[in-house]
């Protein structure tokens, strides 16, 4: 497993990509979930009772940063199928969507634009924020292990 990670991330391009995905997702999700504010001052805080949500955001960002570059590596270097990439992208998107609506800056705009459909969707994403994030982590984890497995086979890495 470590050899597989080394194989991908010794390439500086994939390391930069991974770092970019992690930082972008983490900052974006922290802003959406109101752990980080940019105005009027840059300030971050974790309100009591929301610590678990914060940990899940960090995990989703880290797993996305791990899984997506590995799949891009498979597609670019090994010319493999894009099927596993889909799992990574799907996991990242649903992990990002969970809880990012509702009260936050997007929620009111979504509900104003899409009416009752938007209200139902944001309510669902808010109500099931934690389970949805856990599912996203599960999808990303499965994608990670299957990607590592296929890279081992495709690159003939000895475990």
């Amino acid at each position: 497993m470590i050899q597989t990670i080394k194989l991908v991330f010794t390439n500086f391009k994939y390391l930069v990509l991974s770092f970019s995905i992690f930082v972008t997702m983490l900052i974006g999700l922290l802003i959406m979930s109101e752990y980080l504010f940019l105005e009027p001052y840059v300030v971050s805080h974790i309100p009591s009772g929301t610590e678990f949500g914060f940990v899940l955001i960090v995990m989703i960002s880290a797993l996305s940063a791990l899984v997506l570059p590995m799949n891009i590596f498979r597609i670019n270097i090994l010319k493999s199928s894009k099927q596993k990439m889909g799992g990574g992208v799907f996991g990242s998107i649903i992990g990002a969507a969970a809880g990012a609506c509702s009260c936050g800056p997007i929620g009111f705009a979504v509900i104003s634009t899409f009416g009752s459909v938007g209200a139902t969707a944001t309510a669902f994403l808010t109500n099931y924020e934690i389970p949805i994030r856990i599912i996203a982590i599960a999808i990303l984890s499965i994608t990670y292990f299957t990607t590592v497995k296929s890279l081992k086979v495709e690159c003939k890495i000895n475990s």
Binding site: V43, P47, G49, C103, G104, P105
Partner: protein, 220 residues
């Protein structure tokens, strides 16, 4: 002459008695609103009663929804320190204005708070609803029955409260407040405006106490 004077006296007494009876028998119909009340560019006439010193030179206008988790977070994590350090000392006051948009129970909860205001229990009711908030939107924790149960637990006159809530007496008031939020570019809840003689500053989200302190201290 005496007869005429007596007649006038009877009519005057009857009018006064009528006024007293109508006021005492139907307090739910009494809406004590200052229609001209504004804070900065925001009309707070339909908002909550003022919390704290009405003559304070700084006002925090909060736009919120009773079903909003972030409002709950702000209510529990930031508001107590603001109350303790600024509102109780009379330097700052606070007005809550509804942006009831999150679910079908949100407007009803906002209306219920004004039904409690009819019995001069607005802030007690407001605090109880936020304290009782449950994590799921529209799960029933803020439906009409629960809103009535909150009123009962505060010892409100249930006849008055129920007729007020069931009639939708304050639905237009809540709609007006939501419109104020839209007109002022409030994009989510909670949203705040710090209004002083130096203007008004918008704060979006359940920001920590340190942010409010940094803004309020130079204004005092």
């Amino acid at each position: 002459m005496n007869k005429k004077g007596m007649m006038i006296g009877v009519v005057v007494v009857a009018i006064i008695a009528g006024i007293i009876v109508s006021v005492s028998s139907s307090p739910s119909e009494t809406i004590n609103l200052d229609m001209g009340r504004t804070h900065g560019t925001i009309s707070t006439a339909m908002g909550s009663p003022i919390l704290g010193n009405p003559d304070a030179s700084i006002t925090i206008v909060e736009f919120g929804d009773y079903q909003c988790h972030q409002c709950y977070n702000w209510f529990h994590n930031t508001k107590p320190a603001i109350e303790q350090q600024y509102i109780e000392s009379g330097k700052v006051n606070l007005v809550f204005v509804d942006l009831a948009f999150l679910g079908r129970d949100s407007p009803k909860a906002a209306q219920a708070s004004y039904c409690a205001e009819d019995q001069e229990m607005y802030w007690e009711y407001h605090d109880l609803v936020y304290t009782s908030q449950e994590s799921k939107i529209d799960s029933g924790w803020a439906n009409s029955e629960r809103l009535k149960a909150f009123a009962f637990s505060l010892g409100l006159d249930m006849g008055l409260f129920e007729s007020c809530l069931d009639s939708g007496k304050y639905s237009k008031r809540v709609s007006f407040n939501t419109q104020q939020a839209k007109e002022h570019g409030v994009r989510g809840t909670p949203g705040f405006f710090i209004v002083s003689s130096e203007g008004q500053q918008q704060i979006s989200g359940a920001q920590p106490f340190t942010v409010f302190k940094q803004i309020l201290d130079p204004l005092i």
